[in-house]
């Protein structure tokens, strides 16, 4: 199973990203576990400096933006 993490301290944009990711995973029947990380120490552990951020299988895919739907799906499918 693919692990997908959405990093963000709780502002509107991170919540938007989280719901978008959950919705995409569900709609496309992707076998992934989506978790939201709002603990700062954990976030910084990934080395990101801007939130929200998307992490797939422990690799940081982007930070500071809300990526396009196709992009999110592609990243998750590439695992």
């Amino acid at each position: 199973m693919i692990s997908v993490k959405v990093l963000g301290p709780g502002c509107a944009r991170c919540r938007t990203l989280e719901s978008k990711v959950r919705e995409l995973v569900q709609k496309n029947n992707i076998d992934a576990e989506v978790t939201k990380i709002d603990d700062i120490a954990q976030m910084v552990g990934y080395g990101i400096m801007m939130t929200p951020a998307l992490v797939v299988n422990e690799k940081v895919k982007c930070s500071g933006i809300i990526p396009k739907d196709e992009q999110i799906i592609q990243w998750i499918n590439e695992g």
Binding site: M49, M50, C62
Partner: protein, 353 residues
């Protein structure tokens, strides 16, 4: 907007080539045509089509509104596009690399300048702060960055340029930079490291692998386009609302009304304006049209700019977020020094103008 180099590499496979690069530039002739003819177009609409007369309160307000909204939006689109492209050259990771190891004052100057081109949303304040501190960037330099980034953003500069001319925009930018550099420098010299929450120095920050991947021109252009879509869609409503308020003030408030309490003669107006502005938070887009109207009615430039810097430079949400990494005393010192800097700048402007 920021992407890791690996993510940018993936995006490359999806973006077109020359077509995507040229598309945005096709808008340019239309932009120029509309922009240069705004006055004539608006006059035609208000005086000929609607038959209103100059000097009529409603006509004046409407003219202001119809003229300013497209003008400001056009400017915004252009500048956000350009800055979006410039930003693709400066990721926070790269900024961090550039700032690492610089001597104190030079670091403050660089950090402040980089703060202008780096996008900033309040919630990024913490990871950014930690990221900088963890890579050994001095506290004072980090503060210079944190002061410059929200205060001097391209939306504010565009609006100042569009509504007041390039001299005012330049003045705002340079004094903002000055405040960021000097405040950061002073904060650095005060040796306030002990007031940073200890856990900040204890966590081990990861580092994103830096691949040698080059970003193509096409990707930079699409970074510009994305920036326009994202920022303009967020901000246009505040601009329209702000201009509407400004239009009302322009048409209906009597001349020199503001002079009595925001004019030069009231010595207390500068500190009062800053004290009023600091706890307020608005994005630059909404506040500037109001600023324009206030100026028209006799408020002095120094007071009004000080107010604006207070509103967008220091915000309550940001200080609340920073409380997680900074002890209360440091937050007060931080706010106090920046506010003092803004007040001094306010007085300076009132003196010069």
């Amino acid at each position: 907007m920021q992407m890791t180099e690996a993510a940018v590499k993936r995006k490359k496979t999806n973006s077109g080539g020359l077509k995507d690069v040229l598309k945005p530039f096709l808008f340019l002739p239309f932009w120029i045509l509309i922009y240069w003819n705004l006055d004539a177009l608006t006059s035609y609409l208000i005086y000929s089509v609607l038959g209103l007369s100059k000097g009529d309160h409603f006509a004046d307000s409407l003219f202001f509104f119809v003229y300013e909204v497209p003008k400001v939006l056009l400017l915004l689109v252009l500048i956000v596009f350009v800055v979006g492209i410039v930003r693709s050259y400066f990721s926070p990771e790269r900024t961090r690399k550039i700032l690492g190891g610089k001597k104190l004052f030079a670091g403050n100057v660089l950090a402040s300048m980089l703060g202008i081109v780096t996008p900033f949303c309040s919630c990024s304040a913490i990871p950014l702060f930690i990221g900088f501190v963890e890579s050994g960037i001095p506290l004072g330099v980090t503060f210079s960055f944190l002061i410059a980034a929200p205060m001097i953003n391209e939306v504010a500069l565009v609006l100042l340029f569009g509504l007041f001319g390039w001299e005012t925009a330049l003045l705002y930018m340079s004094t903002g930079l000055l405040i960021a550099i000097i405040s950061g420098y002073i904060l650095g010299r005060l040796k306030l490291e002990k007031y940073v929450e200890p856990w900040v120095y204890e966590i081990k920050a990861g580092h994103i692998e830096q691949s040698e991947e080059k970003i193509t021109i096409s990707q930079r252009i699409s970074a510009g386009v994305d920036a326009v879509k994202e920022i303009v869609s967020k901000v246009w409503i505040y601009i329209v609302a702000g201009i509407a308020v400004g239009a009302g003030i322009h048409g209906y408030v009597p001349e020199n009304f503001m002079a009595s309490f925001m004019g030069k003669s009231a010595w207390w107006s500068v500190p009062a304006a800053v004290l009023l502005g600091v706890p307020m938070y608005s994005n630059a887009a909404g506040i500037i049209p109001i600023v324009q109207a206030l100026l028209e009615k006799g408020a002095s430039l120094g007071t009004v700019l000080a107010f604006m810097m207070g509103v967008i430079g220091l915000s309550l949400p940001e200080t609340i977020i920073l409380r997680k990494v900074l002890k209360l005393r440091l937050i007060f010192v931080f706010v106090g020094i920046v506010a003092t800097g803004i007040i001094i700048v306010g007085y300076l402007f009132n003196l010069i103008y």
